[in-house]
């Protein structure tokens, strides 16, 4: 949908702009890598400076961490993962730095409106998009432990696209702990490994606390290792609230595994993939539910 829209509007601009992309892309690639290397040097300079300033060195050390966690490591991960992480479907979403993120552990059939209807009925809240305002609100609500039902979730990528939308359930009014699940529409005609056609893929995990990411040292949510519990929670809530929904389980879809997600949290799964069939769910229920919500 989005892609079609972008192309339609792109067609209105003059076609000559497209042609010069190779040199520009090359330049951009060079600057991207060069900036990554230079930032590494900057981190080193700031780090060594921090020892020469006495108590002010602590401020320098914080600056060093900020530079490292939010500038250097994301850029280096971005460069390296472009080289070594495969870009085809391996049952894992990727973070914006290209690292392997949450595992895809749920598939759905149905129209978008039917998904919204089924999830709203099952007591899930749609997450806000990430903006400066919503990011600031999630920080303040975490620090003050105020409830933030529609807190945004970080972007994860599948098929080279950010999630189309995400749903969540806050636990005990604490924004640090929440159920959440991201949804991606599969490309037209795309088949699961094994040949089954599904309309949507989803990755559901449970945020149990706020902590430091192992790979980027950024402050982020830590997820619960037993992702199968979360997957089964999503399926059971949707089934309980929607009598027209059905589920088929692909046993051992992925080999059961232990691994780490993009934040360095361990994950383990039995490898089953439930496919929720929502094609019989009435979508107009959704319109009401959304209006009540808003």
């Amino acid at each position: 949908m989005d892609r079609a829209g972008a192309e339609a509007s792109g067609a209105e601009t003059e076609p000559t702009r497209r042609r010069r992309f190779s040199i520009n892309a090359l330049l951009d690639g060079f600057f991207f890598v060069y900036a990554g290397i230079a930032s590494l040097w900057l981190a080193w300079l700031v780090f060594t400076e921090s020892f020469t300033f006495g108590w002010w060195g602590i401020a320098f050390f914080v600056a060093f961490w900020l530079v490292l966690a939010y500038l250097v490591l994301p850029r280096l991960h971005r460069i390296l993962t472009t080289i070594y992480v495969p870009d085809y479907f391996i049952g894992r979403a990727r973070t914006s730095d290209g690292l392997l993120g949450d595992p895809v552990n749920l598939a759905l059939d149905g129209e978008e409106a039917q998904l919204h209807a089924a999830l709203a009925a099952a007591g899930w809240t749609r997450a806000d998009d990430v903006t400066l305002a919503s990011s600031w609100r999630i920080v303040t609500s975490t620090v003050t432990r105020r409830s933030y039902d529609e807190a945004p979730v970080s972007p994860l990528f599948l098929f080279g696209r950010q999630q189309d939308f995400a749903y969540q359930q806050e636990v005990e009014g604490n924004p640090a702990r929440r159920h959440h699940v991201r949804f991606w529409r599969t490309p037209d005609g795309w088949l699961l490994p094994g040949g089954r056609r599904v309309d949507w893929l989803a990755a559901g995990t449970f945020d149990r606390a706020v902590g430091f990411s192992l790979f980027t040292l950024q402050v982020t949510h830590k997820i619960d290792a037993d992702i199968d519990v979360e997957r089964d929670h999503i399926v059971s809530t949707v089934l309980a609230a929607n009598p027209d929904a059905h589920v088929v389980i692909l046993r051992d879809f992925s080999t059961g595994y232990h691994s780490r997600n993009g934040g360095g949290d361990t994950i383990r799964t039995d490898g089953d993939l439930p496919i929720l069939d929502l094609r019989a769910v009435k979508a107009d229920v959704a319109a009401d539910a959304v209006e009540v919500d808003a």
Partner: protein, 181 residues
């Protein structure tokens, strides 16, 4: 719904395809940050020029080892040199300021120009540091160097790149920036 066999992998050509951001893309944080850093560099340049002007006599005597008698024709020549340096530096800073505005509005040529200058400046500093043994401390060039590196990081990011490359409704005319923001 048609179900056709499709390759299980995404073709690698997708990686090198040109970015096609939506025309109404919001200005990303990295573009704003990059433009802001260029402005900071201009301010740093103004401070440097002012301090040079105020300490001109001392710079000549101590750093360049030029002895000048007050009131002589050499002193006048030194003043002319100072004015020339200030004028030239001011011109460069003015160009920098224009580039900052253009970067903010998402001009790709300005973005590339700023990145080329930053790259050259970083490279020269690196050669000095690793080759000549010149120390880089906060008192000398750490601030300008980190500004250069941060500018390069911000403007080479994918979001800033996509914003500078977004298709414009009126070609590349005067109007840019989606709806005022």
């Amino acid at each position: 719904m048609t179900v056709e066999k499709r390759p299980a992998f995404e073709p690698p050509a997708v990686l090198v395809a040109p970015v096609t951001p939506p025309p109404d893309m919001h200005r990303p944080v990295s573009t704003v940050f990059g433009a802001l850093l260029v402005v900071l560099r201009v301010i740093a340049g103004v401070v440097w020029l002012l301090s040079l002007a105020l300490q001109w006599d001392r710079v000549l005597r101590d750093d360049l080892n030029i002895e000048i008698d007050p009131g002589s024709s050499e002193a006048e020549a030194a003043q002319v040199v100072l004015v020339f340096i200030l004028g030239f530096g001011g011109l460069i800073l003015a160009v920098d300021l224009v580039l900052a505005v253009l970067v903010y509005r998402g001009n790709n040529a300005a973005r590339l120009a700023v990145m080329i200058v930053a790259t050259l400046s970083i490279t020269i500093a690196a050669i000095d540091y690793f080759g000549g043994g010149e120390d880089i401390t906060i008192r000398t060039t750490l601030i300008t160097l980190s500004l250069d590196i941060l500018v390069l990081l911000a403007l080479s990011s994918r979001a800033a790149r996509a914003y500078a490359r977004r298709p414009r409704p009126n070609g590349r005319g005067r109007h840019s920036g989606p709806k005022g923001r």
